[in-house]
């Protein structure tokens, strides 16, 4: 179990994390939030790469702030922004990180590397220099290195950026497989669909604060019967009563398609009941917190 206890981090003029508290058990846990919400800061604190001003992080009894080396043995980390040595091949890169993780036995290491490269579809190019890889291939290699050494806690920060839809599905399968082995996977993203597809629980981070923790199904249940949808004009949108919370507006076939949350029934006859989505929940929580205008 990962315990994040009142973690606070302030940069000059910005409170990136404000007493963020979470308990995360085995499975894929999603961390949702808009850009600048503090997701990457929280990830870096958990990955032992950033000291918080206050609070603590522990996992299975290991204090991540005072027992860094022990913590790193448990970790698999894929940062949002990372690179590789361009002159090393994929296999050399993996071998290097594997040995840093303590995988000293050559044969076992080789098998694990080949299996992971196979899993991320890089086995055929394992002897090619990473400098010649495309963005998606580098991302897949990054994922593979995070899975080295059978980590107990996997932290992945915006991992599907730069992946095409097929690779993204493949990555989801990888994480789901990992989570099935009683591993804690912390997935930071601003793509709500990734959370909906993968996560058994998720939290929403906004302006450094955890503003909601839930499971996808119960999150959807809270909205059932309260989400309405209509194609209306801009004037009609502006005329909606203040108690109606606009979740999202988007253009569809030239018309303004509006989704609203209204606990007292549809705002007008133009609106019909819609099936709530996790995106509705996400926007409604952010709106409650004053993040979405």
């Amino acid at each position: 179990m990962l315990h994040i206890d009142a973690v606070t981090k302030t940069y000059p003029g910005v409170r990136a994390l404000d007493r963020a508290t979470l308990d995360v058990g085995p499975g894929v846990f999603g961390l949702l939030g808009p850009n600048g919400a503090g997701k990457s800061t929280l990830m870096q604190v958990i990955a032992t790469l950033l000291d918080p001003d206050a609070g603590g992080v522990s996992f299975d009894g290991v204090n991540f702030l005072s027992q860094r080396l022990s913590a790193r043995r448990l970790l698999g980390y894929l940062p949002q922004d990372f690179g590789f040595y361009p002159t090393l091949t994929a296999r050399q890169t993996m071998s290097y990180f594997a040995r840093l993780k303590g995988m000293a036995l050559r044969d076992e290491r080789g098998r694990a590397i080949d299996a992971l490269l196979d899993r991320v579809n890089l086995l055929d190019v394992r002897d090619r220099r990473v400098g010649g890889f495309s963005g998606g291939m580098r991302q897949r290699l990054g994922i593979a290195q995070a899975l080295l050494g059978a980590p107990r806690l996997i932290i992945v920060d915006e991992p599907t950026a730069g992946l095409d839809p097929e690779e993204r599905n493949r990555f989801h399968d990888l994480l789901a497989d990992a989570a099935a082995n009683d591993i804690v996977v912390l997935l930071s993203t601003h793509i709500v669909a990734d959370v909906a597809n993968l996560c058994s629980r998720f939290a929403i981070l906004q302006k450094g604060k955890i503003v909601g923790v839930d499971t996808p199904s119960s999150a959807l249940a809270t909205l059932r019967g309260s989400v309405f949808e209509a194609s209306i004009s801009s004037a009609a949108l502006n005329a909606l009563p203040p108690e109606v919370a606009v979740i999202s507006t988007r253009r569809f076939e030239g018309a303004l398609r509006v989704r609203v949350f209204a606990s007292g029934g549809p705002p007008s006859s133009a609106f019909s009941v819609a099936d709530p989505t996790l995106e509705d929940y996400y926007f409604s929580v952010l709106r409650e917190d004053g993040a979405v205008n």
Binding site: Q44, A47, T48, L49, L50, D51, L69, S70, R72, R73, L75, Y77, P79, D81, F82, G83, F84, Y85, P86, T87, L88, Q92, S95, Y96, F97, A98, R99, L100, K101, G102, M103, A104, L105, E108, R109, R111, A112, A115, L116, D118, R119, N121, L122, D124, V125, G131, G132, F133, S134, G136, M137, G142, G149, A150, E166, E167, R170, D177, A178, N181
Partner: protein
């Protein structure tokens, strides 16, 4: 200014000026150059030789010496990565997708950074100018003057640094490899000194015309008394003007070559083959928590060595070192009684210093430049593993170069039919050079971890080395601070006990510096 800046060329110049204004490096260079001026004002040769410190002769001499002793490496530091940094920061697609012509980009980059270089150099001139109002005992100071400072600064310093800046810019822009730029400047020193030695026999006016730094101008007044020199007005004769014109031509030619050959594209990447569906069994390799740190350390060292080997500049640096060190033996007469191994030590020390400073810098800053740091830092290894692996790798590179030079020198010796001192290569290199190399690499590691900025650390390293050389040249030399034993040993002293004690002292200092690097390595995002 706003009209100029509104066109792309002006925009590039302005961006370079703004970028440099927010860097520490130019200010650090100004401090170093001002300190240099202060040192040569109060403690230079003028007081001892009875020269007036603001005489026309001494002012021109100081600007020439300044150009020779400090500029080439600092020019490389400031001009080498001008284009490469746009590609490293991945701003290049944003720039080249704008309607900017290649010549505007190239000229803007060069002129913007050359202006910054001139501003840094001006710190030397301004300090010298301001110090006219100060004096130390027995110093001769003439009536305060301004024009000679300005005139000689432009003629001897700015015009000397122009072609070198253009050369460094060209190498950096075309290869996008800063280490090749450093290699070029180190090679420039070797070629320049070798050229000056070769040209001793030709008439003075030709020596002046062919001397890019105009070091030979001083020879015009050779043998003159101090009193006469204080009254001299340094004229710019036809040979000197021809030389400066040639420097301008060289600079323009370098920029023209860059303009013709510069490519805005990056190396093409090839996409992977199609996706293959493969059943996957989750790999669960065992990790023994009590594993000794030796395997991660070996892996880190092997990787660092591989990365250094893959550096394009390494082959060139090794070749230049071997050629320069061995050529100094092969090209000039060496008495049969001389110990060849000992004669290679001084020149080898210079190159080992360059390797230690620049390649250690490369090893320490590569991880940040390539954004590998978060992956490495989240690995369960201590700072000691990461730092000592880098120190070991650079030391091994230095050892390889040392072996190559030793082998080349031994071949020259054998070709000349003398075997005198052949057995001394191992003890001389082992006792004198190896501890010195370890010290320089560890010192450089400490400098780079404490400074955390590659160019700042490089500039500081060059400044420290320059100050050390200046002290030794002035006769201030003692084993307590001369860890390299430069000019403090001879082959005979190999049998003396103090030498081994000193090498142990040097190794202890290296260990302390390595510990400093480990201690100061901040593993934080």
């Amino acid at each position: 200014m706003s009209r100029i800046a509104s066109v792309p060329f002006g925009g590039v110049v302005q961006a370079e000026l703004l970028y440099n204004a927010k860097r520490i490096l130019p200010y650090a260079l100004m401090v170093i150059f001002s300190g240099n001026a202060l040192l040569w004002w109060g403690w230079g040769p003028a007081v001892a030789r009875g020269w007036a410190v603001n005489s026309d002769f001494y002012i021109s001499r100081m600007f020439v010496m300044f150009s020779f002793m400090t500029l080439p490496l600092f020019v490389a530091v400031l001009m080498g990565d001008v284009v490469a940094r746009d590609f490293e920061a991945e701003i290049d697609p944003l720039i080249f997708s704008k309607p900017i012509r290649r010549v505007e980009y190239i000229a803007g980059k060069f002129i913007g950074n050359f202006l910054v270089l001139v501003c840094c150099e001006a710190a030397f001139a301004v300090t010298f100018l301001a110090l006219q109002s100060a004096r130390v005992p027995e110093m001769i100071v003439l009536a305060p003057r301004v024009a000679p400072f300005l005139r000689h600064f432009v003629f001897f310093t700015v015009l000397s640094s122009l072609p070198l800046a253009a050369l460094c810019f060209a190498v950096g822009a075309l290869t996008r490899n800063v280490k090749l730029v450093y290699g070029t400047t180190v090679a420039f020193y070797c070629l320049y000194i070798a050229g000056q030695i070769r040209m001793r026999e030709i008439p003075l006016h030709w020596r002046i015309a062919l001397d890019p730094l105009l070091m030979n101008v001083e020879q015009l007044w050779r043998g003159s008394s101090a009193l006469a020199l204080n009254q001299v007005t340094v004229p710019y004769n036809g040979w000197m003007l021809a030389n400066r014109a040639a420097m301008l031509v060289v600079a323009v030619a370098c920029i023209a070559v860059v303009n013709m050959r510069f490519a805005t594209s990056r190396p093409r990447t090839r996409a992977a083959s199609g996706l293959i569906a493969i059943d996957f069994a989750w790999p669960a390799p065992s990790i023994a928590p009590s594993l000794p740190a030796i395997d991660p350390w070996l892996a880190a060292t092997a990787t660092e060595l591989r990365l250094l080997r893959d550096e394009r500049s390494f082959g060139l640096a090794a070749a230049v070192t071997v050629i320069a060190c061995v050529a100094s033996l092969a090209a000039f007469p060496v008495p049969p009684s001389s110990v060849y191994a000992a004669r290679t030590v001084d020149s080898l020390l210079l190159f080992l210093f360059a390797i230690a400073l620049f390649y250690t810098g490369e090893a320490f800053h590569r991880d940040r430049a390539l954004r590998v740091e978060p992956l490495l830092w989240s690995a369960p290894v201590s700072n000691g593993v990461l730092v000592t692996a880098k120190i070991t790798a650079v030391s091994v590179v230095g050892l390889v170069v040392m072996v190559l030079v030793g082998a080349g020198s031994a071949l020259v010796q054998l070709a000349r039919g003398t075997t005198h001192g052949l057995a001394l290569y191992l003890p001389i290199y082992g006792v004198i050079l190896v501890p010195s190399l370890l010290f320089m690499v560890a010192a450089s590691a400490a400098l780079h971890t404490v400074a955390r900025q590659k160019h700042l650390a490089n500039a500081a390293g060059v400044a420290i080395a320059g100050a050390f050389y200046s002290l030794v040249a002035r006769g201030v030399n003692h084993p307590s601070f001369n860890f390299l034993l430069y000019e403090l040993w001879s082959p005979q002293s190999l049998n003396e006990r103090w030498l081994l004690a000193h090498r142990a002292y040097t190794c202890a200092a290296a260990a302390l510096l390595a510990w400093t690097a480990i201690r100061f390595m901040k593993r934080k995002a």
